[in-house]
């Protein structure tokens, strides 16, 4: 069985010049001075450097090489450990490791390696940049039930909405444990929810395919029917930003005002992507789209996006949250909360980067999503009964250029336009921080 073990993730060659905070913390990890088990990686001639440590391999060469059977990979936490008592200090493991991540004390011949500091790595705590993070995939995995979406769906390679929908329905299955009805409309998700690409691929759940104008009101009709029937059926919408922010905004607002017991997830790829990348009310300032092109009189989108999740929070609904397809544990927790709201509407605004529409290489989907959050362009917060709370604070906020440089849709932006985006990100985050101070933002 796969362990879904905790893992140390290190951003490649991202350390600030001169910083060795992680090494110093590692050296002091046992209280007294010890051999650090993490090393600097310096690219010749480059200013930036990185760090690296043990990979905790599944088939460790050090384990194979050890003549004393002193090395083992724990089935509980996946950490490869050296048993100091059994170790004969021969140094065979040091030779065997292809990555040079076993460190031998020159005087005592004792060998050391990274063991995650028992579950709270000191290097991660010490890193001032957020270059190092300690990830716990099992915390996400525990939310996943059966996958009812088959493979072979015609969505783009690297499509975040496909990934996010797969994830969503697995969480819904696990958390509710009962059959749900899903609502979708014209959008990229038509390929799954309208069985458009190439055929019916979402098996095992009922679907009501609505119009772009009426996802939330269709959910209302179904909810009122089941209310009379005395059945509490989970109703989940997975609708794009086009229908949510624009075409169907009114009907969502109405459902929110009435407090209909529905879970409405807007997957926001910031444009009408299914029809060939046109701007929507959720497209950010400056973005190229085919309807806000670059050239002639055009310089991309000239107005900022609507802040739909905040607008929903001001409706006084039971639960509102922003979430990211790059922060899946955070999303799963929020989705679980949304599903457990006893009365009233739950709204989740899910940031799902679009490789085709935002113009970035298809393998960078999660990275772009991560950067949206790390630059404060897309803050992660939730509001339970109107009380806003940030659920993630970047360890060190990155400038928005770290986000925009990844995407072709922002490639044309000049310094003053980038500055405007930066101001927007800063102001947006600051606004959430200030609103978090209120007991209930819809009653002010």
């Amino acid at each position: 069985m796969v362990g879904f073990y905790n893992v140390l993730k290190i951003e490649e060659l991202a350390c600030p010049a001169g910083c060795s905070a992680c090494l110093q913390a590692c050296a002091k990890r046992q209280g007294a001075e010890a051999l650090p088990v993490i090393k600097l990686i310096q690219k010749p001639g480059a200013e930036v450097h990185g760090v690296a440590t043990c990979y905790q391999c599944s088939q460790p060469r050090c384990l194979e090489a050890c003549p004393a059977d002193a090395i083992s990979k724990s089935p509980d936490d996946g950490v490869v450990r050296i048993d100091g008592e059994a170790c004969v200090r021969c140094g065979a493991c040091v030779e065997a490791c292809a990555y040079g991540q076993i460190y031998q004390d020159q005087e005592t011949d004792q060998v050391f390696k990274c063991d995650h500091c028992g579950g709270a790595p000191q290097c991660v705590a010490a890193c001032p940049q957020g270059v190092m993070s300690f990830l716990k995939p099992s915390e996400t995995k525990k939310y996943l039930g059966k996958d009812n979406v088959s493979h072979g769906v015609y969505m783009c390679q690297g499509c975040a909405p496909e990934a996010a929908f797969r994830f969503t329905q697995r969480v819904v299955e696990k958390v509710t444990g009962q059959p749900a009805i899903y609502f979708g409309t014209s959008s990229c998700m038509a390929l799954i929810l309208m069985s458009a690409g190439p055929g019916r691929s979402f098996l095992g759940n009922s679907i009501f395919y609505a119009r772009m104008t009426n996802v939330a009101s269709s959910m209302t009709g179904v909810r009122r029917h089941f209310k009379r029937a005395g059945k509490d059926v989970p109703l989940i919408a997975f609708a794009g930003d086009g229908s949510t922010a624009d075409i169907g905004f009114q009907n969502l607002s109405g459902a929110a005002e009435r407090g209909e017991k529905i879970v409405y997830i807007c997957y926001d790829n910031q444009g009408y992507m299914n029809t060939g990348i046109q701007k929507s009310g959720a497209t950010p300032y400056g973005a190229w789209t085919t309807s806000t092109p670059v050239g002639g009189p055009y310089r991309g989108k000239t107005s900022p996006a609507k802040n739909v999740p905040l607008i929903m929070a001001f409706h006084g609904v039971s639960y509102v949250a922003t979430a990211s397809s790059a922060f899946l544990e955070d999303y799963a927790e929020k989705l679980a909360k949304a599903l457990q709201v006893k009365d009233g509407l739950s709204y989740i605004h899910l940031n799902t980067p679009c490789t085709t529409g935002w113009r970035f290489p298809m393998d960078k989907t999660v990275e772009v999503g991560r950067m949206a959050v790390e630059t404060n362009m897309f803050p992660l917060w939730e509001a339970e009964q109107g009380k806003i709370r940030l659920t993630y604070r970047p360890k060190k906020v990155k400038p928005i250029t770290e986000y925009t440089k990844l995407q072709g849709r922002f490639a044309h932006l000049k310094a003053e336009e980038l500055a405007k985006l930066q101001k927007e990100a800063d102001a947006g985050f600051s606004l959430i921080e200030r609103l978090a101070g209120l007991e209930n933002i819809s009653q002010t």
Binding site: A180, S206, F208, N251
Partner: protein
């Protein structure tokens, strides 16, 4: 003004909005949704009062837009609920996107449209433009003539819509202002009688949206299947004609009155000229017919009760052998330079071996009354038209053109 009488056999003086509300209440709806719009809003107030007093036990949603209201009843109907919605002109148009889904999904929704002139210009008066203009949008259409019809046709609408041989949405096309704002005598049947009248609907089985077992509503299918779906829709529409005639007969047996079926004939047996009407103008037309009869003219009247499906067979029966047919239209058929009912009637007349001369009278546009004088004039023109081919096909009675 609403009353809170018990739903037993009672005679009221009320307007058509109230009459409809009684009819809806008696049919035990599950889910209703609507927005207020002149001239329909009195209906809503009464329905809410029935809800307060317990005479209605339903989920009622005042939506934030008619598009939403239509979507709410569509979705609830898809799950198996008996639903009701009411609107008018601009509200109907706002609901268009969802309105177009109802027939396609074969949802037996019942709507009452209280017809009103189109805006712009901002004009709050009656015409049949909104609803005759919508006749090709897939819903069954039936036209009450008076406030009693308003109540009765709601009952018949549910009986027809949910019939297992039909399963199509029905609009009761109520003339705004004439029926919504004028008081007439209305007999309210007893609840038990209505339950008996609707009892055959319990046999209906239809596909419903459920969480378990898995069902899929409105989501994609292979292209050639759509032709089959539409064909079956057409078959159902055709069956609806015979079914309505049957239901009209059952109505008579249960309640002691009826509306005369698909098409109602008045003094047509020996008539040479026949007026064809839709809705409340029928009452005025009967007076005009009687006056002209008194002058010695052989004139009659055909009231079209069901406009969709178009009762071709009954219309042919009623109009064959006549010398002239004068169709009264309170609407225009855009681009055809005539009225909508005229287009339909003329197409039916084509099938007759001996075709009467067909002429169209457009009147009542912008809420103007269609007076008895206008209709007498129409009868005269129709007579002349039967003899003289040069009499123009279309006359705008109010404009004298």
């Amino acid at each position: 003004m609403g009353t809170e009488i018990e739903p037993k056999n009672e005679r009221l003086a009320c307007d058509g909005n109230i009459a409809v509300a009684y009819g809806v209440m008696l049919c035990r709806p599950d889910v209703m949704s609507f927005l207020p719009i002149t001239p329909q809003h009195g209906m809503l107030t009464q329905l809410y009062q029935f809800h307060c007093s317990g005479l209605i036990d339903a989920e009622i949603v005042e939506a934030e837009g008619e598009q939403s209201a239509m979507s709410i009843v569509n979705a609830a109907s898809a799950c198996g609920s008996r639903t009701f919605i009411s609107s008018s002109a601009a509200g109907l148009y706002f609901a268009w996107d969802a309105f177009k889904a109802t027939y396609s999904l074969r949802l037996p929704v019942v709507m009452v449209n209280v017809s009103r002139e189109e805006c712009p210009p901002a004009i709050v008066v009656h015409s049949q433009q909104d609803i005759v203009g919508a006749r090709d949008q897939g819903w069954i259409q039936i036209y009450p003539e008076n406030c009693q019809d308003c109540l009765d046709m709601v009952l018949m609408a549910y009986r027809l819509a949910e019939d297992k041989e039909v399963l199509l949405p029905v609009i009761v096309c109520m003339d705004g202002f004439y029926l919504s704002h004028l008081t007439e005598v209305v007999d309210v049947p007893a609840r038990a009688e209505v339950d008996r009248f609707l009892a055959p609907l319990q046999e209906t089985e239809r596909v419903k949206l459920t969480a378990d077992p898995v069902s899929i509503c409105g989501a994609g299918f292979v292209d050639q299947d759509l032709a089959q779906v539409r064909y079956e829709y057409c078959e159902a529409m055709e069956r609806a004609k015979g079914k309505f005639a049957e239901i009209d007969g059952e109505f008579a047996k249960t309640f002691g009155r009826n509306c005369g079926g698909l098409v109602q004939e008045y003094r047509t047996d020996d008539a040479e000229v026949v007026l064809v009407t839709l809705g409340t103008v029928t009452g005025t037309a009967r007076v005009a017919v009687d006056r002209k009869r008194a002058e010695g003219l052989k004139v009659g009247l055909v009231r079209v009760t069901m406009l969709r499906p178009l009762p071709r067979e009954r219309l042919r029966e009623a109009l064959q052998g006549k010398k002239a047919v004068g169709v009264i239209d309170r609407n225009i058929c855009f681009g055809c330079n005539c009225g909508g009912l005229f287009m339909d009637v003329k197409s039916v007349l084509y099938d007759l071996d001996d075709r009467p001369r067909a002429v169209n009278f457009i009147d009542g546009i912008g809420g103007l009354d269609i007076s008895v004088d206008h209709l007498e004039k129409a009868i005269d023109i129709a007579y002349r038209a039967s003899l003289d081919r040069s009499v123009p096909e279309v006359t705008w009675l109010a404009l004298e053109r």
